[in-house]
Amino acid sequence: MKTLGRTILPYLIAIAASFAAAGIFIAAMGFDVGRAYQTILLTSFRTPNGFIQTLLKFIPLTLQALAFTVPLTAGKFNIGGEGQMIVGGIAAAAVGITFSDLPPVILLPLVILAGVIAGAFWGLVPAWLLYRFGLNEILTTVLLNFVSFALIDLVATGPWRDTTAGHPTTIPIGQGGWLPMLVSNPPLHSGIILAVLVAAGIYVYTSRTTGGYELVATGANPRAAEVFGINVKRMFVFSLVLAGALAGLAGSIEVAGVHRRLIEGMQSNFLVLGLIIGLIARGNNLAVPFVAFFIAVLEVGASAMQRTLMIPVEMVFIVEALVLLFVLLSDVVRRR
């Protein structure tokens, strides 16, 4: 209990401090801080729709953040979650459109799996470049994001293009590939179960299994891990491939659950939000889902704030940045 308090207390202080500091700034810009904060914090909990919107954001954010923190556990930085998600989405849509007549029992697992495999492959490329040539993974993962932007544009404007849509979009995937709904109105798809299970699985894996321990040991001190017979380079590769699979899953869930088609730009700003969630969680895989939920609340609240109060949605970014800053600073304080 005491340790739990010591983990959570800095977070609470950081959040309170950032809201206070950001409030001064927002007030200085001439906005009504009270109403702004009310909207940001309560939109998710006032209506069923708000809550479900939050859960729908929570799913990709958690997976994106895990795609960052899992390699971080091994001491590697994956900034390619965006590209891995896009490629996952492309594969999911490709399978869903090509085999659109298959029944759900077969098609749905295929669609999900296609995204996971494609994402894992997109993570394997930088992993291999690191393994074989020693290329810095920060650079290669991020450069592949830009390749994926062109790739999704290619697919969404190609033969599968939905010509009735103004924005580059493909035709819908077969009904058999749709994720079943948990709640029909407002719609909540069952991808949330997948996301929670995966997050729990990652936590159990990294904290309770031998393989996960090797991952942690590699991140803590690669040289010591090497001495104890852990194949450090293979751990790097594995962590990046797993990260790609997680981000790819986010892509297939977005396709199968939310859009039911491929839409250019569907990756939204999940990458940078995933990064900030991972950093606020200090790379702790258990903390990720909780931080992701908090950020999802802020994001949903902020778009409501823009709609009703005409305050730019980016204002919430100040809060997020300050939370991150204070959490980082609390690390320094703790060490003293």
Binding site: F77, N136, L154, L275
Partner: protein
């Protein structure tokens, strides 16, 4: 011949953001500070540079503002890593996030949401008398905007400073072996601070170049990965000013070629051309990373109270 001259002119024009951002990265790296916030700092520089130029009506003031913002980010990077001894990549990525966020927030606050963004005048062409009259070379080298000259001049100055002065030698020592440098009485902390700050300023200026030369306005994510490419260029250039300058010609060349190919309307779908700069960079990294000379202490923090590094 005409097309070749135009092409080379454009290459020189497009190399500037690469040169500035990469020299900024190199400068910090020479004392061991590995900045990975380039993309964020450049976007902030582009956003702030544009906004200040627009408000003040003077591009030069806008550039100074972008440099100041970059310098501030460099200062934060130095403070968190050198004084507080925190992981350089964690801090760098945090700063990247903050830069990206601020770059989209600031225009909303200053200009609001508009359908047609306001424009600022782009940088004028500065013809060098006499030299600009030389056939072929004249238009390529001597009829460019001021920052083209500045980026070449800067590269030469940095080379002279690092390899021909005592201070430069000391600075390089900090990035190779800070313990040895410290024992010789070199102030490692001060070296890391000022290189991170100056480097940040250059990266901010690299960002401001984009609205001031290419578009006349700020658009979201307009750097299109140039900040990340600049890191690759720095490795490619072996963290040395002159090789970075020549390497930037290659990076700019690929960018211009991919863009020209779209304009001409090659038979390939344009999306493939969009991928070219990034794939070419990965390829060039494969070919050169092994041989690349990297400051030995790059990305690490020196704690003089620790017995071994």
């Amino acid at each position: 011949m005409e097309t070749l001259v135009t092409f080379l002119r454009l290459v020189l024009l497009s190399m500037v953001p690469f040169v500035l951002a990469s020299q900024g990265t190199m400068l910090g790296g020479r004392t061991g500070i590995f900045n990975v916030a380039q993309e964020g700092i450049m976007l902030l520089g582009a956003s702030l540079g544009f906004l200040v130029s627009y408000q003040v009506g003077n591009n030069f003031v806008g550039m100074l503002a972008a440099m100041a913002a970059g310098a501030l980010f460099g200062l934060l990077l130095a403070y968190f890593t050198t004084t507080l001894k925190m992981n350089q990549f964690v801090i760098g990525l945090s700063l990247f996030f903050i830069g990206v966020g601020l770059s989209t927030l600031l225009p909303k606050l200053v200009i609001g949401i508009t359908l047609s963004p306001p424009l600022i005048p782009t940088l004028p062409e500065v013809s060098i008398p006499v030299l600009s009259q030389i056939p072929l070379l004249g238009p390529i080298l001597f009829r460019q905007n001021g920052l083209v000259y500045f980026s070449i001049f800067l590269s030469l100055v940095l080379w002279y400073f690092l390899y021909r002065t005592q201070r430069g030698l000391e600075l390089r020592a900090v990035g190779e072996n800070p313990m040895a440098a410290d024992s010789l009485g070199i102030n490692t902390v001060r070296a890391r601070y000022w290189t991170a700050i100056a480097g940040g300023a250059l990266i901010g200026l690299a960002g401001a170049y984009l609205p001031m030369v290419y578009t006349g306005t700020f658009t979201e994510a307009m750097t299109r990965g140039r900040g990340w490419l600049a890191i690759a260029l720095t490795f490619f250039g072996g963290w040395s000013p002159l090789t970075i300058l020549t390497g930037s010609l290659f990076f700019a060349g690929v960018e211009v070629l991919a863009f020209r190919a779209q304009v001409i309307g090659l038979a390939v779908p344009y999306q493939y051309l969009l991928m070219v700069p990034y794939l070419a960079t990965i390829l060039i990294m494969i070919l050169t990373f092994r041989k690349a000379r990297v400051p030995a202490f790059l990305g690490q923090n020196y704690d003089r109270e620790k017995r071994n590094l």
